[in-house]
Amino acid sequence: MLSTFFTPRNLLSNLVQLLMVAAAIGGAYYLFLSTQENLAARHIETGFAFLSQEAGFPIGDSLIDYQSSDSYGYALLVGIINTLYTAILCIILATVVGVIVGVAQVSDNLLIAKIAKTYVEILRNVPVLLILLFVYGVALAGLPSVKQAVEIFPGTFLSQRGLYFPRAIPEDGFIWVAMAFLVAIGLTILMVRWAKKRQNLTGRSLPLFWLGTAILTLVPLSVFWMAGGPVSWDYPALKGFNFSGGAVFRPEFLALVIGLALYRGAFIAENVRSGIMAVSKGQNEAAAALGVPPSRIMRGVILPQALRTIIPATTNDYASLVKDSSLAIAIGYPDMVSIGGTMIGQNGQAIEVIGIWMLVYLSINLVISVLMNVANKKFQLVER
């Protein structure tokens, strides 16, 4: 061990390494000392004890019950849940936008293709924060006031205060409906497996999408009907200056989700477009020559191959989307960063809070890349 250290070939590189380790440790120690000094001079505590102290600030939008008498740790949890919630919702919506616009970009119809292209070029070349501020400050602020709220569906109101909609309250027996839904999921999986086996044996295929939808809706619905409709609805009603009752998507939340989905959707649309264009034309022509109907060429031939290029690129976009959700702070939606920012303002424990932020974002990104790797494996070229 020691002898190889001093061989002329390794000596220089090892010495450099040693020097660098020394410099790194020395630098870190110096930073540590000056940080300690600074923290003491500013009367800032260290450590994570503050997480159990009372937060003392209200949070405008929370998925779990929260009072300002709850602890900092709990407030941060509210923020983490909000971040995850918006991130998942944005990912779903951005994917829908991206797929629709992306397929529209390669449409045979020149008009639709140009409209989609224009959308992508406008949205991609503007800062995302500008889009968020515009949606929040201009588009949503331009909605009618509470008094003139628009009733989109019966019981669903859109106004400057957000989107109010009826809240479903499960009653006794609703558990059966939930269980029926689980059973329906199981049935669908079984059916898909059986259909695949049947197709391998006989070559005949089933309209899986419609069958699956039918099972997933009809089974729970019939149980719901048999149990006597065990759900009551809490409708929002205009009382005084605002709605009471029902559930609500606040404007901050709406702006964040709409803005991020539209913006990132444009990037995903580009991935979808380039993915489809990357599939060679011969695939399309060969399938058509075999008499495969156009809708099935797209679904069964083009898309599975296109997904090979789409998925890796889109993984990066999902990761960016999650990170972009931190822009909530600019429009006042209480995500993890915005709540953490309030905490830093109150007790100055920036190092700890920023550490927690980084940890959470790094873990979310890790989960995304693991999930997308699984998806990627599934669609990769199987070479024999």
Binding site: S13, V16, N38, N125, L129, L130, S326, V337, A350, M358
Partner: protein, 362 residues
């Protein structure tokens, strides 16, 4: 007597199979589905264009005060005119406005000189690397120029300073990080990987928070760095990590034969890297590097989270002016337009480089 067969001239294609009609049929009415899509597209255009045209031009006010604007109901472009200086340079002193303009012209001149290849590449690289110095000197003052406090920098000026200096400093740093990631020395490699992956894993907002709140805690007492410089450091750090990954892609794309050939000629590894590997790698990744420039230009707008008034921040603040209260839409649209022109122009330039690059390799 022989009869020579004379083919009669071809009949023209039937009217439905040529010219405009065929083009229309092929692209808009080739099938039932296509026809439905065409009507859908026409519907979308009719729903969007007329109201926008009304707002932008027909009902818009180009000259006049706030009350005339409100009466007209359309866009209030006189508001943008009145606040134009604010949009461009924030609260930078007006009598010194020539300095940021000079800095901008310098940037433009260098850009044009590079794009038109008016000077050798190596000279251009040196000029670009030195550019942050005159920019900060012209805008900030010192060395013979009256100094202007960084708190007065704002608007498009601040956005451009942050992003141009950010990109120019982060390219060499990113190259160093990318080389560090390929280093044989494990410690350097580990540090570089940790830095790159951590920075890429977290949002820019948290890095800006770090720069604005955490950085002062690390500094030895008595040493202070202004908020603008701290934010600039944060942006450089953020951008370097992404550029490192782009450069790494380029480095992987240079065949190993190149470095083997250089080694067999007896070139020192550093010379090989600097004059043989890096130029090829960077040429390859020029388009994605320009993509990073665009991303950074857009990302600098996040500095409003830590209280700097960049172009977007000024646009948000301009409509708070009591005289022009409530014209946020105009401010945002103007802001979006300028950003769009800059970003779209850059991306077009990137595309043309890509095409030229491919042509050169063929």
């Amino acid at each position: 007597m022989t009869i020579i067969f004379q083919p009669s001239p071809d009949q023209p294609a039937p009217p439905t199979q040529r010219g405009v009609i065929k083009w229309l049929r092929d692209h808009f009415f080739s099938s039932v589905k296509n026809t439905i899509l065409t009507f859908l597209g026409v519907g979308i255009i009719l729903a969007i264009i007329p109201p926008l045209l009304d707002w932008f031009v027909l009902n818009a006010t180009f000259v006049g005060n706030a009350d005339e604007c409100r009466a007209a109901g359309g866009a209030c472009w006189s508001f943008v005119q009145a606040q134009f200086r604010l949009f461009m340079i924030g609260s930078y002193p007006q009598e010194l406005a020539w300095r940021p303009i000079a800095a901008g012209l310098l940037l433009l001149a260098l850009f044009i000189a590079t794009a038109r290849q008016l000077m050798p590449g190596k000279v251009a690289v040196v000029f670009w690397l030195l550019l942050p110095l005159p920019i900060y000197w012209l805008v900030g003052g010192g060395f013979g120029l009256e100094s202007v406090d960084t708190s007065k920098w704002g608007g498009l000026l601040l956005t451009l300073v942050l992003s141009v200096v950010g990109i120019l400093v982060s390219v060499p740093l990113g190259i160093l990080l990318a080389l560090g990631r390929r280093s044989n020395i494990k410690l350097i490699k580990g540090l570089c990987i940790a830095l790159i992956e951590t920075v890429r894993g977290v949002p820019l907002v948290t890095i800006l928070f770090m720069a604005s709140i955490m950085l002062p805690l690390f500094l030895p007492s008595g040493m202070e760095i202004g908020i603008l410089y701290r934010v600039q450091i944060g942006i450089i750090l953020f951008s370097s990590a992404y550029i490192a990954e782009v450069v790494r892609g380029g480095l992987q794309g240079v065949e190993s034969g190149q470095s083997e050939a250089a080694a067999s000629l007896g070139l020192h590894p550093w010379v090989t890297m600097l004059f043989i590997i890096l130029p090829q790698a960077l040429t390859k990744v020029l388009p994605p590097l320009i993509g990073r420039c665009i991303a950074l230009l857009k990302d600098t707008s996040l500095v409003i989270v830590v209280g700097l008034l960049d172009f977007l921040g000024i646009s948000k603040a301009a409509s708070q002016d009591p005289e022009w209260l409530g014209f946020d839409a105009e401010a945002f649209v103007f802001c979006a337009l300028i950003y769009w022109i800059l970003c779209f122009g850059l991306s077009r330039y990137g595309n043309s480089l890509e095409k030229r690059g491919y042509a050169a390799y063929r």
